[in-house]
Amino acid sequence: METVLTTHFADDRYRGLSGYRRTGGYDALKKAFAMTPEAIIDEVKKANLRGRGGAGFPAGVKWGFLPKDLSRPRVLVINADEGEPGTFKDRVIMSRGPHLLIEGIVISCFALRAHACWIYIRGEFVREARILDEAIAEAYGAGLLGKDILGSGFDLDVTVHRGAGAYICGEETSLINSLEGKRGWPRLKPPFPASVGAFGLPTIVNNVETIADVPWIVTHGGERFAALGCEKNGGTRLIGVSGAVNRPGVYELPAGINLKEIIYTYAGGIRDGKALKAVIPGGSSTPVLRANEIDVAYDIESMAKIGTMAGSGGVIVIAEGTCMVRALSVLMNFYAHESCGQCTPCREGTGWLKKIVGRIEAGKGRVGDVELILDLCDNMMGRTICPLSDAAAMPAQSFVWKFREEFDRHIAEQKCPYGNRFL
């Protein structure tokens, strides 16, 4: 199976510039400089490269939203916030192949005619930020960043900006606000970042993995990248499998691979010989699947058909014996804590959900609580500036829909049938 990103990740030397170059690193950049920006964008479009941050928007199309006029500087912002519980693949790229990201950035900026790039990295990723800083320093030293890169006449500066620990700052407009030194609140759209983004400039925000795919696309061509995946979803994906599996980890697999195969073949099946109970397929905000629903292609359209999302590629596996009310309660604590507080439905709704689910789990649930959760989710979904409200409501709704009997039993028996207790 062909890999795009992780081919050399096992080799520790790949992290440094010389090791990266030994594998042909930065050859794609030389090739890109011989192309026109338009030709590079064309290849990215042909590649069917869908954004890897969660929303899955076609990257080439997004790039096309930049205004044609070049009178204002444009900027590229790399979203390395990776705050979604269950998602941990970008940190692997940054820690194992930082130059892959940097090369992708230089090529993308050249294609976008941008001369400044910020990597907005989650504040907790201390080690990854340091590795990136080292790699960026190496790149500057080798003339791969800064003025007149490789004699091409193209200038680019890359800056690592560490976040201060807010999940919401992974949402592109609050990321931009945070980058500007403001409170990390999502912005009302329009205007979209492509016209008014960071520091008021036309801005493209892309996920780490999306940009790290670009060198391979330039080297091998967009069509070949597209062929690695499935229809409408080109290339491979880094899939982070966590939870009750024998081999949790990050796997690079073709877009459209079967979800069951991911869990049983690559992640080694369920730990301790237990049966599978549920899967949260694309990071904690995506609707949960029951064990009998996982025979499905892991691509954006197939997942949408069964009412869930491939999201940011974080597959969370839940084994039998796990209390789904408890699991949801943990999630609701997270979303209530991370709601930025700007929009009413999210600010009040996430906190309320946390309290209802929490009391059901604690054996203090009331008759009508389950209906209240569903109605509340209805009042939260699609009602806010950014999707955080949906991100809390989608798991809540799907947990109730698919594991309703567990919620009812908690309320009827006034205790957790699995013996879970909150301490």
Binding site: Q342, T344, W352, R359
Partner: protein, 524 residues
């Protein structure tokens, strides 16, 4: 001009209009909290969600700009459920303390609850997040964080209008609350506006709190008398007590705002009022009836005028309306035949002005006085000299100060004049020494026009009848003049303005109708 339909009604509005404002033009009210026409759009309260055809999700009417052919519905079940849902979410943490909340009666939550809510609470009482109650955050404002619905209007006002940025939103999720930084209270001259724009009872006015329930108040369109800017205000009163001033919209003058100093001007209508006419005989005050006093003042003034040229004098005031100044001038020039006519400013204070609303000239009608041919400056100084020299035998003074003189200086100066008659609203240095004191109506008790520093003639209206035995100045001056044989037939300020606009070039062609509620520029 995009054409669209809202609830099936066709409407055409200018490019760039939002759905909320387009709906307003056809009388469709879209509920909202965070939207304020003078502030940037935040779109965070989510009350104004509406259905727009071809959009999968509900859209915020406050931020969505209309496009050609758009089909909007604000009256569907889906919209109603969304609005009700948001309202329920707002109300889970908002304390239902309407009985003691000062905003009751003009609270957006209360009003919308009656229209869209009326639900039983599904929220467990013990789940409530408690926040800090009565907090003095500086300026004229008390903050109750628990009542706050985080609409961010106040934060945006301080960011965008005063640019002083004292208020911020702290914390996250349902623990979010607005506050100031420790040791950095509200510190600007426009804090009172925060109470006006707060849609609930989170920010209330320190001065007005617990004074009166708003539903007992009546309002009159008025003009702030605190400086020469002429901010349009609404005077709120109950009986003959003025309770507060609130800014009234006028795009050309004060938009939706007023300053804190102006807001406290209302106190002049209540405090230290002169309420009954009296004369001072042998140093003692003696109550008299109007019927006895006016003829006496007329007589004294006429006698002085007959005694010799310029033996009578009139000191006018820029606190008077155009109508009153016009009559005062005619009394001086036509009836008393004196050149001793000038006006005296209210003590200008520190002369502070800020380039926004606050002007250095702390009088509402200096411009009007000058346009009506009443001088100040050197002419006033010359008049004072003549008074000091003892050549003035009878003096008619408007207002309660003379120039920037202290009380002792005022007393010393006026002691040179055998007969001093005062027309004044409030007790002050002049009323303490005047021979005859004629109490006049406050700005809330009479009507008329002021001319702002910019030359905008603006009308203020009487809210209630003059307190005590105070009299409307126009009526008083007409009677006084007629006692001196003028034969005037004016009946109220409207008729005076009619005469004034017929003869005074800057006001030519103006009528109360043309001045309207928003004012009219005078002729240069």
């Amino acid at each position: 001009m995009p054409n669209l339909t809202i609830n099936g009604i066709a409407v055409a509005v200018p490019d760039g209009t939002t759905i909320l404002n387009a709906a307003k033009t056809i009388g469709v009210h879209v509920p909202h909290y965070c939207y304020h026409p003078r502030l940037s759009i935040a779109g965070n309260c989510r009350m104004c969600l509406v259905e727009v055809e071809k959009f999968p999700k509900l859209q915020t009417a406050c931020s969505t700009v209309v496009t050609e052919g758009m089909i909007v519905r604000t009256d569907t079940e889906k919209v109603r459920k969304a609005v009700t849902g948001v309202l329920e979410l707002i109300l889970i943490h908002h304390p239902i303390d309407c009985p003691i909340c000062d905003q009751a009666g003009e609270c957006g939550l209360q009003n919308y609850y009656m229209t869209y809510g009326l639900h039983k609470s599904r929220y467990a009482l013990e789940d409530k997040v408690h926040k800090k109650k009565v907090q003095d955050i500086g300026g004229q404002i008390v903050l109750d964080a628990e009542r706050c619905i985080l609409c961010s209007r106040c934060v945006r006002f301080l960011d965008e209008v005063t640019q002083t940025r004292e208020l911020h939103i702290f914390s996250r999720g349902d623990h979010s609350e607005i506050s100031v930084f420790p040791g950095r209270p509200l510190s600007n001259d426009y804090t009172g506006n925060l109470a006006d724009i707060c849609p609930v009872g989170a920010l209330t006015s320190k001065d007005f709190r617990f004074k009166c329930r708003v539903w007992f108040l009546k309002g009159a369109e008025s003009i702030c008398t605190g400086c020469s800017n002429g901010c349009n205000v609404e005077a709120h009163f109950k009986g003959d007590i003025l309770y507060r001033l609130k800014p009234r919209e006028n795009e050309a003058v004060n938009r939706s705002w007023m300053c804190d100093f102006g807001r406290l001007e209302y106190k002049k209508a209540n405090d230290a009022r002169l309420l009954a006419p009296f004369v001072r005989e042998g140093g003692a005050e003696k109550a008299v009836s109007w019927g006895a006093l006016v003829p006496r003042v007329a007589l004294e003034l006429s006698r002085a005028a007959e005694a010799g040229p310029d033996a009578a004098a009139v000191i006018a005031s820029p606190q008077l309306s155009n109508e009153e100044l016009y009559l005062a001038r005619r009394i001086a020039t036509e009836l008393l035949g004196t050149r001793n006519l000038a006006f005296t400013h209210r003590a200008p204070g520190d002369g502070f002005e800020d380039g926004f609303l606050i002007r250095a000239d702390k009088n509402p009608n200096s411009r009007g006085a000058r346009l009506l041919g009443i001088p100040d400056g050197a002419a006033f100084d010359a008049l004072v000299e003549r008074i000091a020299a003892g050549t003035v035998r009878a003096l008619l003074v408007f207002g309660n100060v003379v120039g920037s003189f202290t009380e002792a200086e005022t007393a010393a100066l006026l002691s040179k004049v055998p007969f001093v008659a005062q027309v004044g609203t409030n007790d002050g240095p002049v009323s303490k020494v005047a021979t005859a004191v004629m109490p006049s109506a406050s700005f809330a008790e009479r009507g008329g026009t002021f001319t702002s520093h910019a030359g905008r003639v603006q009308r203020f209206r009487a809210g209630f009848a003059p307190r005590g035995k105070a009299r409307n100045t126009v009526d008083l001056l007409v009677e006084l003049a007629n006692r001196m044989g003028a034969g005037w037939t004016f009946a109220g300020e409207a008729s005076v303005f009619h005469a004034l606009s017929a003869t005074e070039a800057p006001f030519a062609g103006m009528t109360y109708e043309s001045v309207g509620s928003q004012g009219q520029e005078c002729k240069p």
